[in-house]
């Protein structure tokens, strides 16, 4: 199928991009790595978009540690995230996630900001952001704002970003001494979207569990987290089973996904304790 774009403009700066979006009468779409958007356009699932290409805005790319905060520019590509030493030290969950994301060609083009703004409920990065307690930073006509991960992801492909805003970076607390970050997922084939995925983080204050591909958005499993804080793995699995309502599709039923979430939680806990599952 042939894509049918409404127009294309390359933004020179964030300000320029915002102006282009403002002038697009609601038809503007931000083009970063294009690994989801272009595929959707090629299936004519998205027609008539005025593409605002932000991929050449160099200020949106890169990784920095600012005190006890790790900042990743929105245009940082998956492959860069996966290879970055600072990320590996301070947010190893993201490093682990990259090896599950699609294939090399996609990782070389796709960006972390694009993945977060696209908000695919089966994708790794949104769940990682949720588990890490990350903050999404957006810039719009009236200035910048930070959005907490648990307020950012709203529904399938839907975030709290406004149409006239651009996601510019993501920040998160750097991993504390002794923090454990684990990602487990099951996919039909290497690089496929997860049937179910689970992020487990152990911090001094307690555990954090984010599950993906089990609902319209990544889910922070707070009851399971509380049970795990009590050291009761069985109760955590039971709680997790009750706080997700996974969809059924051609790959797997809701019941299978629910079962799998429990298996992944047990495996993650085993890894956390240094045991083999």
């Amino acid at each position: 199928m042939k894509a049918s774009a409404g127009g294309y403009a390359r933004a020179e700066s964030v300000r320029h991009a915002l102006d282009l979006l403002a002038g697009s009468e609601g038809q503007g779409r931000v083009l970063a790595g294009g690994q989801s958007l272009v595929a959707a356009m090629n299936m004519r699932l998205s027609v008539g978009d005025l593409l605002v290409d932000i991929s050449k805005i160099s200020e949106l790319s890169g990784v920095a540690v600012e005190g006890d905060i790790l900042r990743i520019g929105a245009l940082t590509r998956h492959a860069q995230v996966g290879a970055d030493a600072q990320i590996k030290t301070h947010a190893p969950l993201l490093t682990a996630a990259v090896s599950h994301i699609a294939h090399a060609a996609i990782r070389n083009r796709g960006t972390i900001g694009g993945a977060l703004a696209h908000a695919d409920p089966a994708a790794e990065f949104p769940a990682c952001a949720l588990a890490l307690g990350a903050t999404m930073h957006a810039e719009g006509p009236s200035g910048t704002r930070g959005i907490a991960a648990d307020e950012f992801f709203e529904d399938v492909f839907t975030t709290s970003l406004s149409e006239d805003e651009i996601l510019t970076s993501i920040t998160m607390p750097i991993a504390e001494q002794g923090e454990v970050q684990i990602l487990e997922e099951v996919a039909r084939r290497s690089g496929d979207y997860a049937l179910v995925g689970l992020c487990l983080i152990k911090r001094a204050v307690g555990h954090r569990i984010a599950v993906f591909s089990v609902g319209p958005r990544p889910i922070l499993a707070t009851n399971a987290m509380a049970a795990l804080d009590q050291g009761d793995v069985d109760a955590a699995v039971e709680a997790l089973s009750n706080e997700i309502d996974p969809p059924s599709d051609t790959q797997a039923s809701s019941a299978y996904r629910r079962h799998l979430a429990g298996v992944l939680l047990r495996r993650a806990v085993c890894r956390m304790k240094g045991e083999t599952a």
Binding site: M1, S4, R189, D192, T250, Q251, Y256, H259, V263
Partner: protein
């Protein structure tokens, strides 16, 4: 003079060696020429508005908005094309009772599956044609859709084609011996319900056609990604009212076919019809969504089967009840009854037993039509047979290898006729099994399995013996009235520079046909393969032939090439004898040189002979025949098909918490007769295994109950990918067919035939200690966990 194939040191010994593929460099450098690479002056593009519903009466069609799109040249409805193209009915006389309604290039009055072409939009670009096609408004008055195979014949199920009376397309019952009595008195009876999932071929290059009609010459030229150019020539001629001689089908590089490109597709015939009406070249290239919704599907079978064995594990009887849904039309001209028919023909294939009953029931439904896809019917029949044999072995506590050895036809039993009435000229089940067992080190593998079990890992070993039908005679299609050639031909000529050109009726789909032909001709004439140019895929140029299907290229096309090459060698030697004043019988051609047969002494290069024949023919005796060109045709006569055999083994691990299967290793020993090019044959086997593994673990077309296709993209339809594929070890036993000098049988489908059964048996071997069993493909993680009783709905 016969070729001493068993002597690898003979001169010109290219047959049996891995010779580089002559077209590989071109393809790797991106210099191939596929249909979509061809651009003709005044060329237009066609895109189709397709039915969004599974079954509907077609009401008013509003084209106003579509016509207004910039670049649109003309729009055709079903009624428009019905005036210039006659409909086809896909039945064959030897498939008694097969029925199917007339099918048009564009639906007229009624749409019968999601994706059926309804309106054709012709524009200057594909993008404009698509844009306009999306604006075509058709008033679809929905009719009830028939989607379930097993209830298609129920009284309260609507009949898709009322004029046919019911939804039954074809039914065949074959019975041999006294099946009921055998089951009644048997030591053990085991039954199972098998399913193979509807899947499709997923060619890298989608279906592609570019048709040009030249009214001045009254000639149609179709550049077509097809397996059977001569068959398509007949189809276009017949239905578009053109003399057959005025249709030329050219088939250049093709990016994979797997059986998908051997059928007549309505959108492709529509493209040809439109080109003729408009007098301009028209191109149609299917996109991936169109491929999923309109390429033929296959393997949508549901089977109840049972086996009876005695106390020693001897098979007493097999009973198979096979059902398949084929969509709303039988596919032209090979028909959609062949797959079910093959299940009847092939079940129980490796085994010497007496009582056999098999019935196939082929029903219409409102889904994409199904037809022949690589290894037609084989993976289904092998899964049924090998599944039952393994289950029987388990039931009587016998090793799965042992039960097979006790039942396979003895290697010296041939010729023999099976209970399904298949004639086997010569097979090697026991030699192949022996080789496999040695290769996999069966005892060590069992020890590894036991060791893994101690660590809580569930590993399984699966064995699958199989037969493969290759080198078909006219008994496959011609006997039923189809103009599909089982014979094939080759013309071989020598040019003045001593190089050789071979023109063959079999076709290159990317699988290496031209490499095979080049080495056969090189050996037959006595030149280097690099000095042979091969031309295939042009109905106006090559000898008439059937093309590529049913693993016939090497066995049929290769033999024609060998005979033509040998004849050319004789012609060259006759001229050489006159020039050298020697006896032709005492000369030979080696590496492009005329030599003394005995001493090998070089007498004259072929270019010198060419120079004299073509430019100084005046110096040769007046009555000397000097045609340095020969044509031979070949057809099998003694057997309807050249059956091959083989056996595969799979070793895998099942994660009993997630249901995920990890393939650890795969082996195949197969016997395709003479191996012409070991590397090409091995890669055919490997590629075939991968497609079989796809069917076993991944590939499944999903429809909802209304007949909506649910997974029409590469993200949702899972094909096997490299990361999940195991190491594959391939070995051969060679039992050449005596029907030809070359002795080659087909090798294209063996891998696909046996792999799903091997995987199924390995999974069940792994699950047996847990009391679980699977028989519905693909074996998804969820299906495995459900078999283990681990999912609570």
């Amino acid at each position: 003079m016969t070729i001493p194939f068993n002597n690898p040191d003979r001169p010109n010994s290219y047959i049996g060696r891995t010779v580089p593929r002559p077209n590989a460099t071109k393809l790797v450098q991106g210099r191939g020429r596929y249909v979509d690479d061809i651009v003709l002056p005044r060329m237009l593009h066609v895109a189709f508005s397709r039915s969004p519903v599974a079954h509907a009466k077609i009401g008013a069609i509003d084209l106003d908005e579509a016509k207004a799109v910039k670049g649109v040249v003309r729009i055709f409805t079903g009624a428009d094309l019905a005036e210039v193209c006659t409909p086809w009915v896909a039945v064959l006389a030897h498939l008694k009772g097969l029925k199917s309604p007339p099918e048009h290039p564009l639906a007229v009055d009624r749409a019968c599956w999601v994706g059926e072409p309804v309106v054709a939009v012709v524009a200057n670009t594909r993008a404009a044609a698509e844009e306009a096609a999306s604006l075509v408004v058709v008033d679809y008055e929905e009719l009830p859709a028939v989607t379930d195979t097993m209830t298609a014949l129920d009284k309260d199920t609507p009949v898709i084609h009322p004029e046919l009376g019911d939804n039954l397309a074809f039914r065949r019952l074959h019975e041999e011996g006294d099946v009921d009595a055998a089951f009644k008195t048997a030591h053990k009876v085991v039954s199972a319900h098998f399913r193979t999932a509807r899947h499709t071929g997923v060619t890298l290059e989608p279906r592609s056609i570019l048709v040009d009609w030249n009214p001045a010459e009254g000639q149609m030229t179709a550049y077509h990604a097809t397996q059977a150019p001569h068959m398509m020539q007949t189809v276009f001629a017949k239905h578009l009212d053109i003399p057959e001689s005025r249709v030329r089908v050219i088939c250049g590089d093709v990016g994979g076919s797997y059986g998908i490109k051997v059928h007549v597709y309505p959108d492709e015939v529509a493209t040809a019809a439109i080109a003729k009406v408009m007098g301009r070249p028209v191109k149609f290239i299917a996109d991936r969504l169109e491929s999923f919704s309109t390429d033929i599907h296959a393997r949508d079978h549901e089977i109840e089967a049972k086996i009876a064995v005695d106390v020693d594990g001897k098979i007493l009887a097999i009973d198979v009840d096979d059902w398949t849904g084929i969509g709303p039309y039988s596919v032209y001209p090979r028909t959609s009854a062949i797959e079910g028919n093959q299940v009847v023909n092939l079940c129980g294939g490796p085994y010497d037993f007496a009582n056999y009953r098999a019935q196939t029931t082929v029903v219409f439904q409102n889904k994409t039509p199904t037809c022949q896809y690589r290894a037609v019917g084989h993976p289904i029949a092998v899964a049924i047979t090998e599944g039952l044999v393994d289950m029987a072995a388990a039931a009587i506590g016998m090793d799965p290898v042992e039960i097979r050895r006790r039942n396979m036809y003895a290697d010296d039993a041939y010729p023999v006729t099976s209970p399904a009435k298949m004639k086997f000229e010569g097979l090697s089940h026991h030699a192949s099994m022996d080789k496999l067992i040695e290769m996999i080190d069966y005892d060590a593998l069992r020890a590894d399995q036991a060791e893994a079990r101690k660590q809580g890992k569930y590993r399984g070993i699966g064995i699958a013996s199989f037969i493969e039908l290759t080198n078909p005679s006219p008994f496959m299609y011609g006997i039923g009235g189809a103009r599909i050639s089982a014979q094939d031909g080759c013309t071989v000529r020598m040019d003045p520079d001593g190089s050789v050109v071979a023109l063959s009726g079999v076709t290159e789909q990317g699988q290496g046909t031209e490499a095979m032909l080049s080495q056969v001709v090189a050996e037959g004439v006595g030149v280097k393969p690099s000095n042979v140019r091969v031309i295939t895929g042009d109905t106006q140029v090559t000898p008439y032939g059937g093309g590529t299907w049913a693993s016939r290229g090497a066995g049929i096309g290769g033999e024609a090439a060998l005979q033509a090459a040998r004849a050319l060698r004789d012609s060259i030697l006759e001229v050489a004898a006159a020039m050298l004043q020697a006896e032709a019988g005492k000369l030979d051609i080696r590496d492009g040189q005329i030599v003394d047969l005995e001493s090998g002494e070089e007498r004259m290069p072929l270019e010198e002979l060419g120079r004299i024949v073509y430019f100084r023919g005046d110096t040769l005796p007046k009555d000397l025949p000097r045609e340095l060109v020969q044509t031979r045709h070949f057809i099998t006569m003694d057997y309807p098909f050249a059956f091959t055999n083989g056996v595969q083994a799979s070793y895998l691990e099942v994660d009993t918490d997630t249901g995920v299967v990890t393939l650890l290793k795969h082996w195949c020993v197969e016997d395709c007769g003479r191996v012409i090019n070991p590397q090409l044959v091995d890669e055919q086997i490997r590629g075939g295994i991968v497609q079989g593994l796809g069917g076993a673990l991944y590939e499944e077309i999903h429809y909802d109950e209304d007949g909506q296709l649910l997974n029409g993209s590469m993200a949702d339809y899972l094909v096997p990918m490299a990361a999940e594929m195991p190491d594959m070890v391939v070995a051969h036993v060679e039992t050449p067919t005596k029907e030809s000098e070359l002795g080659a049988k087909g090798a294209g489908e063996a891998g696909t035939a046996g792999a799903p059964a091997a995987v199924m048996n390995a999974i069940n071997d792994a699950l047996r200690p847990l009391g679980a069993q699977v028989a519905a493909m693909p074996f998804t993680p969820e299906r495995i966990l459900r078999a283990l009783g681990k999912i609570n709905d």
